[in-house]
């Protein structure tokens, strides 16, 4: 399970440029503290997995990175998250531009009840792209990048809801890619998919790291091992461990990580 990861061993986090830096992040929903003093630097153009038991705050951490918590009135945040040099929680930050730069794909595929073309073109349209030619070009590129083009090129104007679950999820990735983000956040993207669709999705994720910084939340250990170069292990809102994936998996520095990997909780 770990063998394929060995090639990455020499590339430690320090050799990489940090794309997203999280500094002293505390997060509460009402009075319940969900994240406690999380610090980590997510490397550019690599896949970083965030894993941990259910309810450990991994999705919460992910959603903090594109300010999706803005929609939750009970959510309070302290600390900093930097995208390059921009502190995303600064008052002057343009949250719409931030979310364009930091795309997100959700647990369940959620294509709009529109055509495949309109789904992918949506982001470009809301950001002001009106030229039909430019839209067509961008849609094709995004669908190719999401390994979906060959499957849908003849039915671009059919409803996206007619696609299979796996195709829908890749469509959601294409939709996110169309606005040319720098970071892609994937929130357990394969949890609603069958094994074949999952394999295709993982193949796609591996490819994406050539151009994008990918952060994937998963509770599936094998998946984390398969797709990621770096792994963060989160437990009860604390970042227990963050390192090169195969090191985290073979020689965890923290007893809690080891217990979790061996299937012992707590």
């Amino acid at each position: 399970m770990v063998d394929v990861q060995l090639t990455h061993r020499e590339a430690g986090p320090e050799a990489m440029v940090a794309k997203v830096t999280i500094e002293g992040l505390d997060l509460w929903f009402d009075d319940a503290q969900v994240l406690k003093d999380v610090n980590c630097a997510i490397p550019e153009k690599a896949v970083t997995a965030i894993m941990g038991p259910s309810g450990c705050g991994k999705s919460t951490l992910l959603r903090a990175m594109n300010r999706m918590h803005d929609l939750t009135p009970s959510c309070r945040i302290r600390g900093k998250i930097r995208l390059d040099d921009l502190n995303i929680y600064d008052e002057g930050t343009d949250v719409y531009e931030l979310r364009r730069r930091v795309g997100m794909v959700f647990q369940r595929p959620n294509p709009f009840p529109k055509s495949i073309f309109e789904n992918v073109a949506y982001g470009l349209k809301i950001h002001g792209q009106r030229s039909r030619a430019a839209l067509e070009q961008a849609v094709e590129k995004a669908l190719r990048d999401a390994n979906l083009w060959d499957e849908v090129k003849d039915k671009l104007h059919r409803s996206a809801l007619d696609l299979s679950g796996g195709q829908q999820q890749r469509l959601c990735i294409a939709r996110a890619l169309a606005v040319e983000p720098e970071v892609l956040l994937l929130d357990e993207p394969a949890s609603a998919l069958d094994p074949v669709s999952t394999a295709k999705l993982e193949e796609l994720i591996e490819k994406l790291q050539d151009d994008y910084t990918v952060v994937i939340v998963t509770h599936n250990l094998q998946q984390a091992a398969r797709v990621s170069q770096y792994t963060a292990f989160l437990m009860l809102g604390e970042l227990v461990e963050f390192g090169v994936t195969d090191e985290v998996f073979t020689a965890p520095a923290d007893q809690r990580t080891e217990n979790y990997l061996r299937g012992i909780f707590g």
Binding site: R99, G103, F106, N110, P113, G123, I126, L161
Partner: protein, 285 residues
């Protein structure tokens, strides 16, 4: 023991069945009654001509047109207002005291009797704003009356759109307004239309809100503008049955008018059913 349990179940199921028969029977009876009494006077002339000879002859075209115009006016006024109010409630306001009070207000508005709307319309639109009894005043009064229904229908429609669509849109950098206009409303539009059509179908049959604000007993002239007085089907029935000097002929005309009104409302409900089916078909999420 076992027998009695079976018997009891059978009895109550039978009672439920009987209730359905009674309900549907009443509907059939109403339709049958109106058709049998009113079908005789229905003719092309009845539908397209103006009334003659103290309304004992001729047709009801001005009343049909008046009702259609009043409904149209009510929609033009109430739809945008109701739509934006519902959007505010569902998409913008946060759960809290303000939203609760707004809800209570909207619900109270829907509980106001229609004759009170009529009096209010008379005071505000006809007298205070000086419109006089006319198409405009009647439309506004009817619109006000259907407003809560439209708000509620739109609210339900918006709420039925999964949160995940909004999240997907926002995560792409859309504003909440963008999300509402480009994702939520298009997905909800069939359901909203269904609600609006049903509301207007109800408004078409109301007498009280228009009798002080818009309707006249008798006119040969078709409405020429917003400030024209109009005839309307429900008020026409009321007038035929309570005023005039030819009770026998007028009663026949009244049933004919009632049949036309009933058909109109059933037609409108049919349209609502059509939209509802279409809404369900597109809804696979």
């Amino acid at each position: 023991m076992k027998f009695s349990r079976k018997f009891r179940q059978g009895f109550w199921f039978a009672m439920s069945g009987v209730s359905i028969v009674i309900v549907l029977g009443m509907l059939g009876l109403i339709i049958g009654f109106i058709v049998s009494k009113g079908a005789d006077v229905i003719s092309w002339e009845f539908l397209t001509d103006v009334p003659h000879k103290a309304m004992t002859e001729g047709g009801i075209w001005p009343a049909i047109l008046g009702t259609l115009l009043l409904c149209l006016g009510a929609i033009v006024f109430a739809l945008p207002l109701g739509l934006f109010a519902a959007i505010y409630l569902v998409e913008y306001s946060r759960e809290g005291r303000l939203r609760r009070w707004i809800r209570i207000g909207v619900n109270s508005l829907s509980g106001v009797p229609s004759v009170v709307f009529g009096l209010f319309g008379l005071a505000l639109f006809v007298n205070f704003l000086g419109f006089g009894a006319c198409l405009l005043a009647g439309s506004l009064t009817l619109g006000l009356m259907v407003l809560p229904t439209i708000i509620r229908a739109t609210e339900e429609a918006l709420k039925s759109i999964p949160m995940s669509f909004r999240e997907a849109s926002l995560a792409l950098g859309a504003t909440r307004w963008n999300t509402t206009v480009r994702v939520v409303l298009p997905a909800a539009v069939s359901q909203i239309l269904t609600g609006v059509i049903l509301a207007v179908g109800r408004a078409a049959g109301e007498t009280a809100p228009i009798m002080f604000t818009a309707a006249v007993f008798f006119t040969k002239r078709l409405p020429t503008g917003l400030f024209s007085k109009v005839m309307a089907l429900p008020y026409h029935i009321y007038a035929l049955m309570t005023e005039g000097t030819h009770p026998v002929e007028q009663t026949a005309m009244a049933y004919g008018t009632a049949l036309v009104l009933l058909m109109l409302v059933l037609l409108v409900n049919g349209a609502a059913i059509f939209f509802r089916i279409r809404a369900r078909k597109g809804k696979k999420w």
